[in-house]
């Protein structure tokens, strides 16, 4: 805010002692330069992590890594990639359907008291530990249904995990549709359903999409909801009622193999590297979409 000043500089007619002013001033300076160091303490490990994952993964990372099956101790991530995206597609479908519908009803239809409870529950749902959801999926979708480990069970469990993230953005996106839009539409004789589909949805859609992408970024990186629901398979997913492998599972299964023994650990690092890229990429998309939405609504408010 200003250049350093000497306690004896102009305006020196102080109340209180000069020594005290000096202490106050130095303490402020110390905080100004010291507190941002906490950012370094946090950011250094982040860069260290990205660096080491890249260093371990890149030497053996080739196109074949993405396109071949795991064979013995080596091979590629093809089955895991296909599995991850199949699971993610199922989960996104589930989460988007439930989350958007619930968000729309919470924002547009629900009486305030119900809406309040729904929002609290949405926040709590987002806070459930992933492994607890894994147990839920295992008990409800693997044991109780007698399906065994299946892609479908994994997808649904992951979907439940992702619901609150979609739900909360959808709720907010609908609530943020300017009320003039609603009044104008209804004044022109639109039925509520028409208003929702033709007016509110297009306005809210970019924000909802950013919520969906965010949920996907989070879902893609989860392990705990899948391990005991989707099972594992070294070949690409064969059907909804067959087990499947997935990228995070590759890391969990192979991380503690000695790095000298074949390339199991290398496979784990390649999966980690791929996940990092996908997750960062999805987050960039989230931001871009959100940015566009922000501009649009801002223009509308003006």
């Amino acid at each position: 805010m200003s250049l350093p000043s000497l306690p004896s500089a102009p305006l020196g007619d102080l109340r209180g002692s000069a020594a005290r002013w000096r202490r106050r001033h130095l303490l402020d300076r110390a905080m100004r330069w010291g507190l941002p160091l906490a950012l370094l303490v946090v950011l250094f490990p982040l860069f260290d992590m990205i660096y080491w994952i890249a260093v371990r993964a890149l030497p053996t990372f080739t196109w074949a890594t993405l396109t071949t099956d795991q064979v013995g101790l080596g091979g590629g991530l093809y089955a895991m990639i296909v599995g991850s995206f199949t699971l993610l597609a199922l989960a996104t479908g589930f989460a988007a359907a439930v989350g958007i519908a619930a968000g729309m009803y919470t924002a547009e239809y629900a009486p305030p008291s119900i809406a309040r409870w729904a929002r609290v529950a949405g926040n709590l749902l987002a806070g459930i530990p992933a492994i607890v959801l894994g147990y839920f999926g295992y008990y409800a979708l693997v044991l109780y249904t007698h399906w065994g480990y299946t892609t479908l069970a994994g997808g649904i469990t992951l979907g439940v995990f992702m619901v609150p993230f979609v739900y909360r953005t959808a709720d907010l996106a609908f609530a943020n549709v300017p009320s003039e839009q609603r009044e104008a539409a209804l004044a022109m004789g639109a039925r509520p359903g028409q208003y929702l589909v033709r007016v509110a949805l297009p306005i809210a859609l970019p924000a909802i999409l950013s919520g969906v992408f965010l949920a996907m970024a989070i879902g893609l990186g989860e392990t705990a909801p899948l391990l005991y629901t989707a099972g594992w398979s070294s070949t690409p997913v064969a059907g909804l009622f067959q087990p499947t492998s997935f990228l995070t599972g590759a890391i969990w299964n192979f991380y503690d193999y000695p790095s000298t023994e074949g390339s199991f650990q290398a496979l784990a690092f390649q999966a980690a590297f791929l996940l990092l890229i996908l997750v960062i990429g999805l987050n960039v998309v989230v931001q871009a979409v959100a940015e566009r939405y922000r501009r649009r609504t801002r223009g509308m408010m003006a």
Binding site: L27, L39, I53, V120, G127, A130, V132, R168, A175, I218
Partner: protein, 345 residues
């Protein structure tokens, strides 16, 4: 851009979504009046989150069959493979201890660092720099747990074993828990590494909540402090922290909810040992990391499965309690950079 913070907030990278930017959630406009039948059909949809939450609790409660609640549940011993299924005791104590140590210490460290970061961002750093740095710290939230885990296990553990832990033992050996014989230091996995990783994982959440709590302090209150001749630091300490107190505590509660639920990363770096940890270098288990690693072996032992499900139920209920506390505390605070946090509690 106004989103209240809630437990599951995962700051994505970036100053994000402006899902928020648009105006303060439109003044609650009169809800659209739908025909009553459709309204009636709609309420289950609006309540989907509540229904899902109830379903999870109910399924776990049924699965646990409630039969292990009682003294033996808290017994100190975990019999890995019960020799006498009917009489086995499955004690949660050692795992609860592991959870308390890792989550507790990680939360203290994360809260301190987050507070420092939040103050730096809201008071000292120029907005543009702050935005870039916020994007980067939020990046931490986007990184999958398993990636933290493999980095911790493969990269950090050897370094902890060879450098960090011996030095720490030399420097702080007089402190209980930090000393012990040389053999106390093993392969690097253990409480210390677990706490380190968990701290990093909790920081994005606590930072986001604290940052927005401090930011929500009205500007004129801050300016009033400055106008009275307080230094920026004095304004932080005497005004900002006091006004934002509730939100800051909320961050701690939400952070605790996050910390006790983490399973995968800790299962990879905590050394997975059922023991009373002899020192900070020793291996341990948390409730969450234990149930994460054990479910497959429980397949053949229904009693074991029930006990594990009860463990899951315990952390679920604790998480819900802390998230409720946290949500209450931050209910006035609105966050802008935490995407996905839509609900207005």
């Amino acid at each position: 851009m106004d989103e209240p913070i809630s437990p599951g907030d995962r700051p994505a990278m970036g100053r994000s979504p402006g899902i928020s930017e648009p105006a303060p959630p439109a003044a609650p406009s009169a809800p659209v009046r739908a025909p009553s039948l459709r309204r009636w059909l709609a309420s289950p949809l609006a309540l989907a989150p509540l229904i899902l939450l109830g379903l999870v609790v109910a399924v776990l409660a049924i699965a646990s069959e409630g039969q292990y609640f009682g003294l033996s549940f808290w017994g100190p011993v975990w019999e890995f493979i019960p020799t006498d299924p009917a009489g086995s005791t499955y004690g949660i104590a050692l795992f609860a201890l592991g959870t308390a140590i890792t989550a507790g210490i990680a939360l203290i460290l994360a809260s301190g660092l987050s507070l420092a970061i939040a103050i730096a961002l809201t008071t000292y750093l120029p907005p543009r720099t702050g935005r870039i740095l916020t994007t980067l710290t939020d990046l931490l939230a986007g990184i999958p747990s398993v990636v933290y885990g493999i980095w911790g296990f493969v990269v950090l553990a050897p370094y902890f074993a060879s450098t960090v832990e011996p030095n720490l033992r030399n420097a702080l050996g007089w402190l209980p828990g930090f000393g012990g014989p040389e053999s106390a230091i093993g392969g690097g996995t253990g409480l210390l590494l677990g706490i380190f990783i968990l701290t990093l994982m909790v920081i994005p959440l606590t930072t986001a909540v604290m940052r927005e709590s401090l930011r929500s302090v009205p500007r004129d209150v801050v300016e009033a402090g400055l106008a009275l001749g307080a230094t920026p630091w004095e304004v932080v300490r005497r005004v900002r922290l006091r006004v934002a107190r509730r939100g800051l505590w909320g961050a701690v509660f939400l952070g605790f909810g996050r910390a006790i639920g983490e399973s995968v990363a800790l299962a990879m770096v905590l050394g997975n040992t059922i023991q009373y940890p002899p020192s900070i270098y020793g291996g341990s288990y948390t409730i969450a990391s234990f149930i994460f690693t054990q479910l497959d072996s429980a397949f053949f032992y229904p009693e074991l499965l029930r006990a594990l499900v009860e463990f899951a139920l315990v952390i679920l209920l604790i998480t819900i309690a802390f998230n409720l506390l946290g949500q209450r505390a931050v209910s006035g605070v609105r966050t802008r950079t935490v995407p996905g946090a839509g609900g207005r509690a």
